[in-house]
Symmetry: D2
Subunit: 261 residues, 4 copies
C-alpha cells in the first residue's frame, strides 16, 4: 500500500489540520471563506489585493438568471426534494465547455499568446494581433470575445479591469486581453465585447492560477448562486410549473421509418 501524500487536510482525535494550519485555532474566525478557497487551490495565502480581485471574480460569476444550470437544479429538486446535494450537483454538471469553458479557454489562449512571443516583451497590441490573426485564419472563435446577450458590452468586464488596476494586478494576461479588445475589429471585421468570463480568466491567470483549475472557481461561484435559487425553490416552488409548461409545448412525432442512428 502506497502512502498518499497530501497537503490539503488531515485530522486526529484532538485537532483538524488544513493547509498546515490548525483549523480551529488558526483559521476559524481568522480567515474569510473566499480567502480560504483561494488558499486551498493556490497553496498560499493571497495578498489583500489578490483577494479583492479574486472575490470580485467569484461575485461576477455567481448568477446570470434562469440559466440551463439553474433550471436543471430546480427541476432536480422537484423530483428529489430530500436530496439538496443532488440538485446542486445537477446544476454544476451543466458547467462544461459551453458556458464555463470560456474562462479557461481565454486563460489558455492568452498564456499561449504570451509564450509564443519573445520573453519580456510588452507590446501587447502586436501580440494580440498575432494571436487573433492566427485563430481567425484558422476559422476559430477568439476566446473572451462576444456574448449572446451583452452584445454592446459585458458590464462585468470594466469592473474587473478597474479593480485589477487599483490593486496593481493588471498583469500580462489582462493587458493582452485589453489589447485584444482594441485590435480585433480590424482583423475580424466586426466589434465584439470583451466578455466577463474571459476577463475572469485573464485575471485569474495574472494571479497565477493555471487554466485547468479556473473552471473550479466558476463552479464554486455558481454553487452559491444555485443555493440561492434552491432556497427560493423550497419557499415557492417553480419546478412543477416549468415542467408542465414545457410538457404542454411538446410536439410529438412518431419516428420516421428510415431514421438513421
Amino acid at each position: 500500500v502506497t502512502d498518499y501524500r497530501t497537503s490539503i487536510g488531515t485530522a486526529d482525535s484532538a485537532s483538524i489540520t488544513v493547509l498546515g494550519q490548525n483549523l480551529a485555532e488558526d483559521l476559524m474566525g481568522k480567515v474569510g471563506f473566499g480567502e480560504l478557497a483561494f488558499w486551498l487551490v493556490a497553496q498560499r495565502r493571497p495578498s489583500l489585493g489578490e483577494l479583492r480581485l479574486f472575490e470580485t471574480c467569484l461575485v461576477a460569476l455567481v448568477d446570470h438568471g434562469f440559466t440551463p444550470s439553474v433550471l436543471a437544479a430546480r427541476l432536480t429538486l422537484t423530483g428529489a426534494p430530500e436530496a439538496l446535494q443532488g440538485a446542486i450537483a445537477a446544476g454544476l454538471l451543466g458547467g462544461g465547455s459551453r458556458f464555463l469553458g470560456v474562462t479557461e479557454d481565454c486563460g489558455r489562449f492568452l498564456a499561449e499568446a504570451i509564450a509564443a512571443y519573445p520573453s519580456g516583451s510588452d507590446d501587447w497590441e502586436a501580440m494580440a494581433r498575432m494571436a487573433v490573426q492566427a485563430r481567425h485564419a484558422a476559422g476559430k472563435l477568439i476566446p473572451g470575445l462576444g456574448h449572446p446577450l451583452h452584445r454592446a458590452g459585458d458590464p462585468r468586464t470594466p469592473v474587473i479591469l478597474r479593480i485589477a488596476e487599483q490593486q496593481g494586478l493588471l498583469g500580462p494576461h489582462l493587458q493582452l486581453f485589453q489589447a485584444v479588445g482594441r485590435v480585433h475589429t480590424e482583423i475580424i471585421g466586426r466589434t465584439l465585447p470583451l466578455n466577463g468570463a474571459g476577463a475572469v480568466g485573464a485575471a485569474l491567470a495574472d494571479i497565477g492560477f493555471s487554466p485547468e483549475i479556473m473552471r473550479g472557481f466558476a463552479l464554486l461561484a455558481r454553487t452559491a448562486g444555485l443555493l440561492g435559487h434552491l432556497a427560493e425553490e423550497l419557499r415557492q416552488p417553480l419546478g412543477d410549473a416549468i415542467y408542465h409548461d414545457v410538457s404542454r409545448a411538446v410536439d410529438y412525432q412518431a419516428p420516421e421509418k428510415d431514421a438513421s442512428n
Copy 2:
C-alpha cells in the same frame, strides 16, 4: 404559460441584476463572496457579526481529510479528468444524511425543543433535559452529540460558541445546545462531545436559517475543500494508486447458490 417569479437574478443586454442589485455597480468589488452567499439564501444582507459567525461556520466545514466525499471526487477525476464539474458533483453527492445531515438534524432538534416549551422561557437546562430524555427514551441518538474521531471534544465547537458570544449572537439554539452538553451525561449515562456540525446547525438556526437549507452551506464549504483536493490531484494524482491498492485488497467470492435478494 406561467410567469415564473424570482428574486435571485435576471439579466438584460445592458445589465445583470442579482438580489435587486446591479451586479457590476453595486456588488462586484463591494461585497465579499461569503457575504453574497449569505445574502442569496437569506434574501437580506448579514450584519458584520452574523457574517463573521457565518464564515466561521463555512471554514469549520471546509475539509476533514480524506473523507468518502474527497475520495469519490478524486476517483471521478481519474476517469474523467476533462470534466472537473463531474468530480465536484461526485464529491457533493456523498453529502447526504450521514455526514452532512447532522447540521440540519441538530438545527431541527433544537428548534423543536424550543417550540415544545412555553414561549419566552430561557430555562435551557430544563428544556435540554426534556428534549434529550424524549429522544433517549425513544431509543434515538441526540443530534449534535458525539463524533467518531473527536471523542474527547470536537475542536471546532468552542470556537463557534466563542465567536457567537463575542458577536452577541448566542441565541436560543446555541444556548440550548450548550445546555445539552451539560445535561446529557446524567440522562444517557455517558459523556459525549458537542460536535462541530451540530454547533454549526445551532449557530445557523440562531442566525435565522431554516434546517432544510443548512445542508446547502455545508455543501458550499465542501465545494471549496474539494477544489483544493482536485487542484492537488491535477498536480500529483493519487486516484490510480488508491484504485490499485483497493483493488488488490479485494477478496472475491463467487455468489452462494441460495443468496436471497
Copy 3:
C-alpha cells in the same frame, strides 16, 4: 488493511469474472442485458417467467415524456455537450422520493401489511382494509394509489398484473395490491387508480427484491430513456430553446426588505 469481500466482479490479466462466471466465455452472447441486471442485484439467475415480468417492469418505467428528469438531462447537455455522463447523471438525480419513491414506498407498504397479519393468511381484502384504514386514519396517502395524469386508470398496471398471472407470479404483494384497488373506495371515499409505479413495486417484491433496491431498477430503466432523449438532443437540440422560453417568462422581483430566511 481489510480484505474487501465482494461477489460482483474481479479481473486478472487473462480473464474477467462476474458473478462467479467467466464473463467472456459464460456470459457474453449467452445472457441478455436485462437478465444480467437482475442477476447482478439478486445474486441469482431469474427463471424465464421472472425475467419476462422483470423486463416488463423496466419497459414500463423507461419513459414518460418530458419529465423534470428529462429536462434536467437535456439542459445539462446544452452546457456540457462533451460530457454525456454528466447529462445522464443530472437526469438520474431527479429520481428521488417524489417520482421514483412510489415504487419502493408501495413495496414497503405491502410488505408491512403482510407482516402485520398472521402468517399464511390469504384474506387479501381484509389485509388491504386494515392497511388502508391505518394509513387513512393517520392522514397519509396510500402508496400506489392515484396518478396526476392517468386519473381514470394507469395503462401499465393491468399489463403488469396480466403478465404476472400468465407467468404464475401473482404472489402475495400483487394480490394484496389488487385488493387495495378493490377496497380503498369504501374507506377513503373516492376511487383512485392503481398506478404503474406501485404495480412495479408489488411485482418486484413478489420476485423477492427488497424495497431499498427497487429505485435502482427504475433508475436503470430511466437511463435507457434518457439515452434516447440525449441522442435526440444531439441530433436536434432543444435545450437552448427551452432555456430561452423559460427565461423570457421570468417575472423578476427584487427581494422585499423584511424577507425571512
Copy 4:
C-alpha cells in the same frame, strides 16, 4: 414559445406513447429491455442479429471489478445511503475520456480511416497501415490497442468478433479493427492486444451508431454493474472500511511556502 419536437415519448390521460408505440399495448411484455434501449437511440428496431451483438457489447462492459467508478459509487452511498440515485450518478461521472472514451475514440478513428480511403475499398490492411502510421507518426496512441491489465489479450475481443461474424455483422469497422490488430506491430514496433472497449466501438459503428452516443451505451451497461455493487454494499457495506484504510495511509505534509498555483 416554441413547440419542442420529439419522437421519444409523450403521455395523455389514457395512454403512454414511446417511439410511436403504445407503451402498454405494444411494448410491455413484447420487447426486451436491451432491445428497447437500442430502439430508443437508433429510432429503429434492431434485427435479431443486431440485438444479439448489441447485448453482447452491453454485457462486455457491465463490470470490471473495483474500478474508480465503483469505488466512487460505494463511497457516495456511505455518506448518503438514502439517495441511491446519487451513488449511481457518482459512479457514472467517472465515465469520461479515460476509461469510457476508448469506445468512441476507436469508433471515430475507424470511421475516419474508412472515410479517408476511396469509397468501396476493402483493402483493410492497407487502410489500417495508413491510419496507424499517421497516428504513430503524430506521436499519438492508437485507439482500441492496449490494455493496462489484459496485456496478452483482452478476453472480450474475440467473443465480440465471433458473434459479429456469426450474425453476418462483420462490417467495415470491425474488419478494419481486425486489420489494425494484424498490422500494428510492424509499424509501432510492439504487439498490443485489441481491447474490448475498442471492439465494442467497432461493433457499434458497424451497427450504425455514431461515435458521440457510444459512451451512452457504456454508461447504460455500467449502471447495471453499479446497481449490483450498490445492492451488495447495502447488504454488507465496505465504504467505511475503504475510507478508513485509505485515510490511514495518508502522508500529510504541510504546503511548502513557495508552492506555485
